[in-house]
């Protein structure tokens, strides 16, 4: 079943001489529960594409449909609710709120929704991200990798339908990277989350169902791949169900 559909998406920066077509007529669709890797050279428009899917940036032209609904047809308030409940966005440059502690940053989307965070759930996420000891620290007191993990925690905490991750493991060592990927895969499996990951890491790309390759704002390759790991089977079963 198709969850996300991108139609002829364009994003143009600047004018005239300085014009940059960061995303240039991109179309694709993603099934529910798919895990997609987006790769491409630096400056090829990956982040821009992801931001538009996460509805934090407006396309110059084209459409994004989620569950068949045009995202940008919604008004600002609906968009905000959409971002809050449906998407978890992990930024390349973390974008944490500097005046809030790690824990507060993670629970913020839920607080904004007017809900109380479940302490056990918070405990589990902090545990998984290895941040338990650092929960009361401000972002400026954390290392780059730790900040990245906080931003991952923030995206995962509300268990959204779609997770958009912009180089989530860019600052992590291989052991940590593997753990994070494991986390993504687990929630992909358990909650049927759809996950889009931008990465420069071959290993990570290979763990995904599908790889999109971008160049100069255009998709130049879109390959599904057989998943090496055994837990794919389960996912397929569930898919079949």
């Amino acid at each position: 079943m198709e969850l996300l559909k991108v139609e002829n998406l364009c994003k143009v920066y600047g004018k005239g001489e300085n014009e940059v077509r960061a995303v240039d007529g991109v179309s694709f669709s993603v099934e529910r529960g798919q895990m997609v890797a987006i790769i491409g050279a630096s400056g090829s428009g990956k982040s821009t594409l992801l931001h538009m899917i996460g509805a934090v940036d407006r396309p110059t032209s084209g459409k994004i449909l989620i569950d068949g609904q045009d995202v940008f047809q919604q008004n600002n308030r609906e968009l905000a609710i959409f971002r809050r409940r449906q998407v978890g966005l992990i930024y390349q440059f973390y974008n944490l709120i500097p005046v809030l502690t790690a824990e507060e940053n993670i629970t913020l989307p839920l607080l904004m929704d007017g809900r109380k965070p479940d302490p056990a759930h918070l405990e589990r996420i902090l545990e998984m991200l290895g941040l338990t000891a650092r929960r009361h620290h401000l972002p400026s007191q954390l290392s780059g990798g730790q900040q990245q993990r906080v931003s991952i925690g923030r995206a995962l905490f509300t268990a959204p339908q779609i997770i958009l991750a912009d180089e989530p493991t860019g600052n992590l060592d291989s052991k940590n990277s593997a753990e994070i990927m494991e986390l993504f895969r687990k929630s992909n499996r358990e909650m049927k989350q759809t996950i889009l990951i931008i990465t420069h890491d071959e290993n990570i790309a290979e763990q995904c169902d599908r790889i999109l390759v971008l160049k100069d704002g255009k998709i130049i390759a879109d390959e599904a791949q057989a998943v090496p790991s055994d837990d794919r089977g389960e996912g397929d079963e569930q898919d079949a169900l």
């Binding site: 934090v56 600002n76 308030r77 905000a80 809050r84 966005l89 500097p98 005046v99 989307p109």
Partner: protein, 1125 residues
């Protein structure tokens, strides 16, 4: 905690400096708004009180009969009215309206018809007090003008408020700019626009919580400071001293005004925050995230500062471009304050110059105009009066002139001509260096000069006259036997027989044609000596008055003391020198008013400068703080401290330079504009078209505004701002330098400290505690001082506390133990020292009688009482107190002034207890019921008066009345000549506290007491003796003044009045009104009391029984012996 609150508190703490700046900005803005509102209140009060002081009525109708007056006073809509008898026997009714009367002319017409005074209406014998009608919003016109005034104020307030919005806006703009990125992130993780706005406004409201109360406080302080400054700068002099001015123009804080100010401030902050929030949510989150506060939008390769200052300059100029809006706002704020600063003094100066110049144009340099009077019945001549002027030593220059009318024949017409006979001073003032012939020559030859500068010169066509002028005079003669004492020469001139006489005037010369025209010039001028020589032959057979124009000996510096001296002199010499125009007073008032204006505007100026400075410092310091890591990067790649500092200085230079240039341009425009306006004013209003070139030139010259000084001021202000900016940036850079480079490069801009701070709460508690402690301290001091005084009073033998109805009453007694009579003294309103000032009287009366002085509640050292002090209550208190002190009826009541009310009431209620009543100048019942005790009369309305009383009571309760008055000028001590130092000291003691609750209540009860008494008063047989101090002859006036003089001299002050003439004058002026009061008010009152003997004694109402104790005591003893056996 809600997450909005969490974020808000964190941001505030993370950006302490910026929050502080924002708080200060809001504070200043709220303070200015508060000040504005409060001063509006004070101004309105000022106008209102001034108006009540001079014309305390809405409408005055003259020429009525008594019945018409009574009818008018009780007409519909009239709150309160009173009648005043004029010299011609008619009455004038003064009315204050209770509520709106609609169209006032219609009301008047209607009322006139009803009371049968249509004539008065037709002849316009009524006068609307427009100011008061406006202030009270009575009548259609009144309401309209009140609305107009309010609109003007409102527009001004709105303008001010908008410029204040700029301050608040800037503060928010600056602090939120840096955080736009964070708001973008919040949006990207799902914050709705409302939530973003709510977060920003939550923070703003938190800051408001601190800033608004502080701002209100600061506003009150500012307003009070301005009020004080304005009073001290000159306004107070118009009211004869600061403390008197404060009574007339009270500074009151209206809670409503504070509320409005707080609301305006809060709304402004909210709107500012809301605006910022709305701007952020309009962007897509990603836009907000990537537009860092400090990003350069466009790069210009070559900039001026780059050229001038190399790489530091280049970077600096890009920094300015980073935030156009911020740059613009800062420059704007700076420009406004620099402009105001530069212009204000110049403009007030030139307005001042114009106002003073105008006065001088019409009056010359003269300070006093008037007449040197002659007296044909005694034979005193005007020359003697002129000599008195000269002998007084008060005047630097005395110009004398006697204008006489003559006629010349021109063709078939007879033209009127004025010949001015002037003395040497006047002659010199007229011609200065351009004298056609010397004055001595004029006197010697008895000739005349012609003055073309006089408007009459051209009219009478004197141009062709040479050597001689043929003219006709009106010779007036007045029969000697018809001259009455005090007959004025003007009157004689009017009724004298006139006949024509042909005369020839020898013309010595004509003055130059180019002298400035003036109001006071004569076409033909002769010497005063010549006048004396020819008067009897040419003009009249009696003496005439001379005109004088004097210049004060000290006119360089107009002041109240000299004014008073001069006025006193003229007052006591009014038989010989009569003042007609007191220009000195006008000039002095103008001076004082201008000085006040200057002080007030100066203060505003300071505030505006403060706001601008705060803005500048905020921008400079935020600019540096935000670029913490960036600057560190620059340093890490090798930029030196010097270069960094240079960069910062160049940035400040950009702000101040731009502001200075714009300010200079605006200044020039405004200056030229004002010049135009002033000129237009002079051309349109003052010049009539017939003035000579020179006059016009002189007037125009006055309006020339200095253009160099403002430019210098701009430079100075800009340099000050630059210096302040540079110091701030240097301090900021120095502070940052204490951290390591890597910390600075890595560290993000914000690090709140996560500990909770209770600073606000603690400081509020501390402030409240301090206020409480001070109040408690004052109260303890007050009570201790009171106890101490009471001890002293006891030592002097005056204290004898007994229980009365719920309070301790002091019942002092003296004289014989079981005397023939028990005389009970009932004090007048507010007279705490009754037992002390009657000491001499007591000694005489006490030989055979017992004297008792019970102090009613709140008086002397009797306790205060919070019961309503009705007649009934006070009399019952007296009775209980006397009984408990062991004094049994019957009593002889001796009521002084208002004490007579209690005496009358007592006697009516318990006739058996009262043997006799002695009124010491007792208060009589007025026909009109009103609250017109002398104290209340000073206030515009009852509620104003009671508010003032309540304030005074609070002051007393905290002992503030014991502090010395702030303008303790040497004053004449009342009774100084009569009483010993010990007595005066005791007297002073009894006067604290100045205000008690009981006294306040007594004052409030006065109208009711009057009504009550009037209703019940009926003649009784109880013998009564009334002492009156009302003047019955000129001798009484003189005696009163002698007593006053004695007090003055005992106090070490000079008594400046000439008693002889002043008494004569006063008696001549007011005798009829005393007569009227005697016949129409006092006598009917005494008849109403029944069996009352009237004795007239001179002296002062308050202490005549001490001044004339022999006479009073003897009369009392005789009276008692006669009537009671």
């Amino acid at each position: 905690m809600r997450y909005e609150q969490l974020l808000a508190s964190r941001y505030i703490r993370a950006q302490k400096r910026q929050s502080a700046f924002t708080v200060i900005s809001i504070l200043v803005a709220v303070a200015i708004i508060t000040m504005f509102f409060l001063l509006y209140g004070v101004c309105m009060n000022c106008v209102k009180n001034a108006s009540y002081a001079s014309e305390p009525f809405h409408l005055a109708v003259e020429g009525l009969t008594d019945e018409q007056g009574e009818a008018l006073v009780s007409a519909e809509h009239v709150r309160y009215g009173w009648l005043d008898r004029a010299k011609d026997g008619t009455v004038t009714a003064y009315l204050l309206f209770e509520d709106d009367i609609g169209d006032r002319e219609i009301w008047m017409q209607h009322a006139a018809e009803q009371i049968g005074a249509y004539k008065q209406f037709l002849w316009n014998r009524y006068h609307w007090n427009n100011t008061l009608m406006m202030l009270d919003g009575i009548g259609n016109e009144g309401k309209r003008s009140k609305l107009q005034i309010f609109c003007i104020f409102f527009v001004a307030a709105v303008l001010a408020a908008f410029s204040l919005r700029l301050i608040i806006d800037t503060a928010f703009e600056i602090s939120s700019k840096e955080r736009e990125r964070h708001y973008g992130v919040l949006q990207s993780i799902g914050a709705t626009p409302e939530q973003i706005v709510r977060i920003i406004t939550a923070e703003a409201m938190r800051l408001c919580l601190i800033a608004v109360p502080l701002g209100l406080g600061a506003g009150i302080v500012f307003a009070y400071a301005i009020y004080e400054a304005v009073l001290k700068a000159g306004l107070a002099d118009l009211f004869r001293g600061v403390s008197k001015a404060k009574v007339a123009l009270p500074f009151t804080v209206d809670p409503k005004m504070l509320l409005v100010a707080a609301a305006v401030g809060t709304v402004w902050v909210f709107l500012s925050a809301y605006g910022v929030g709305m701007r952020i949510v309009k962007k897509a989150p990603m836009e907000a995230i990537i537009t860092r506060a400090n990003d350069v939008k466009k790069v210009r390769k070559h900039t001026l500062s780059g050229l001038l200052f190399g790489i530091s300059g280049s970077i600096a100029s890009r920094n300015a471009r980073r935030q156009k809006k911020r740059f613009v706002i800062t420059v704007l704020a700076l420009t406004v304050s620099i402009t105001v600063f530069a212009l204000f003094t110049t403009l007030t100066e030139s307005v001042e110059r114009c106002v003073i110049g105008m006065t001088e144009y019409f009056t010359g340099d003269t300070d006093f105009f008037g007449y040197c009077l002659c007296n044909n019945s005694t034979g005193r001549q005007a020359a003697e009066s002129a000599q008195m002027l000269a002998d007084s030593g008060l005047f630097r220059e005395i110009r004398l002139n006697v204008p006489q009318t003559v006629f010349v024949t021109r063709g078939k017409q007879r033209k009127m001509l004025t010949v001015g006979y002037v003395n040497r001073e006047q002659y010199e003032a007229m011609f200065g260096a351009d004298m056609p012939v010397s004055y001595d020559e004029l006197v010697r030859s008895g000739s005349y000069v012609l003055d073309p500068a006089s408007p009459l010169y051209a009219q009478a066509d004197l141009a062709g006259v040479q050597d001689e002028l043929q003219a006709v005079t009106k010779y007036r003669s007045f029969p000697k036997d018809q001259i009455k004492p005090g007959m004025e020469s003007v009157v004689m001139e009017k009724y004298a027989e006139a006949e024509d006489r042909e005369v020839t005037l020898k013309i010595a010369a004509a003055a130059k044609d180019q002298l400035p025209e003036g109001a006071q010039r004569y076409p033909v001028i002769g010497a005063l000596e010549t006048f004396e020589a020819v008067k009897d032959e040419w003009f009249c057979d009696f003496d005439v008055d001379w005109n004088f124009e004097c210049i004060s000996a000290v006119n360089a510096n107009y002041n109240a003391a000299d004014l008073k001296t001069a006025k006193d002199w003229f007052y006591s010499n009014m038989e010989s020198c009569m003042l007609s125009d007191n220009i000195y007073e006008t000039k002095w008032k103008t001076n004082r008013t201008l000085a006040s204006l200057r002080a007030g505007v100066l203060f505003l100026n300071v505030l505006i400068a403060l706001a601008a400075l705060i803005n500048l410092l905020n921008i400079v310091s935020t600019g540096i703080a935000n670029r913490r890591s960036e600057l560190a990067s620059l340093e890490s790649i090798g930029m030196t401290d010097r270069q960094l500092n240079r960069m910062a200085v160049i940035e400040c230079l950009q702000f101040t330079g731009a502001a200075a240039v714009i300010a200079a341009v605006i200044c020039l425009l405004i200056l030229l504009g004002t010049e135009k306006v002033l000129r237009a004013m002079i051309d349109g209003i003052f010049l009539t078209g017939s003035e000579s070139e020179q006059t016009v030139w002189m007037l125009r010259n006055m309006t020339n505004v200095d253009r160099v000084k403002p430019m210098l001021r701009i430079a100075a202000a800009a340099l000050t701002a630059l210096a302040a900016g540079c110091i701030t940036s240097r301090v900021m850079l120095r502070r940052q330098n204490t951290e390591s480079l890597s910390d600075r490069i890595r560290g993000t801009e914000m690090q709140p400290d996560l500990k909770k701070s209770h600073l606000l709460r603690n400081s509020l508690i501390a402030a409240a505690g301090a206020v409480f402690l001070i109040a408690a301290g004052l109260r303890i001091y007050t009570v201790a001082a009171y106890r101490h005084d009471r001890k002293e009073y006891e030592k002097a033998g005056y204290l004898n506390l007994v229980d009365s109805n719920g309070f301790k009453m002091n019942v002092y007694s003296t004289g014989a133990e079981h005397g023939k009579h028990t005389i009970v003294g009932l004090a007048g309103m507010g007279v705490n020292s009754y037992p002390i000032v009657t000491a001499e009287l007591n000694a005489r009366l006490g030989k055979e009688n017992t004297l008792v002085y019970p102090d009613r509640a709140g008086y002397g050292f009797s306790d205060d009482s919070y019961k309503s002090q009705s007649l009934e209550q006070v009399v019952e208190d007296y009775r209980t107190g006397l009984k408990n002190a062991g004094f049994e009826a019957p009593y002889v009541l001796m009521g002084h002034s208002y004490g007579s009310y209690y005496a009358l009431w007592w006697q009516m209620k318990y006739p058996d207890e009262i043997e006799a009543i002695i009124f010491l100048d007792g208060t009589w019942l007025e026909k009109n019921e009103c609250w017109d005790s002398s104290t209340i009369n000073e206030f515009p309305s009852e509620s104003d008066a009671y508010a003032a009383f309540r304030r005074a009571f609070l002051r007393s309760w905290f002992g503030l009345d014991r502090l010395p008055a702030d303008d303790a000028q040497p004053e004449c001590r009342y009774g100084k000549a009569l009483f010993s130092e010990e007595q005066l000291a005791l007297w002073d003691m009894t006067d604290y506290p100045e205000w008690s609750a009981a006294f306040l209540s007594e004052l409030k009860n006065e109208p009711e007491a009057t009504r009550e008494l009037r209703k019940n008063l009926h003649p009784t047989d109880t013998p009564k003796l009334y002492f009156s101090t009302m003047y019955t002859c000129e001798e009484d006036v003189r005696e009163y003044m002698e007593f006053q003089k004695a007090d003055y001299e005992a106090s070490g002050l000079e008594y400046k009045m000439n008693i002889e003439t002043a008494a004569k004058y006063e008696w001549r002026r007011d005798a009829w009104s005393y007569q009227d009061m005697y016949e129409n008010r006092l006598s009917p009152f005494l008849e109403q009391c029944g069996n009352c003997r009237l004795v007239s004694v001179g002296g002062d109402h308050g202490i005549f029984f001490a001044q004339k104790s022999d006479e009073v005591a003897d009369t009392i003893l005789d009276f008692l012996a006669e009537t009671t056996g």
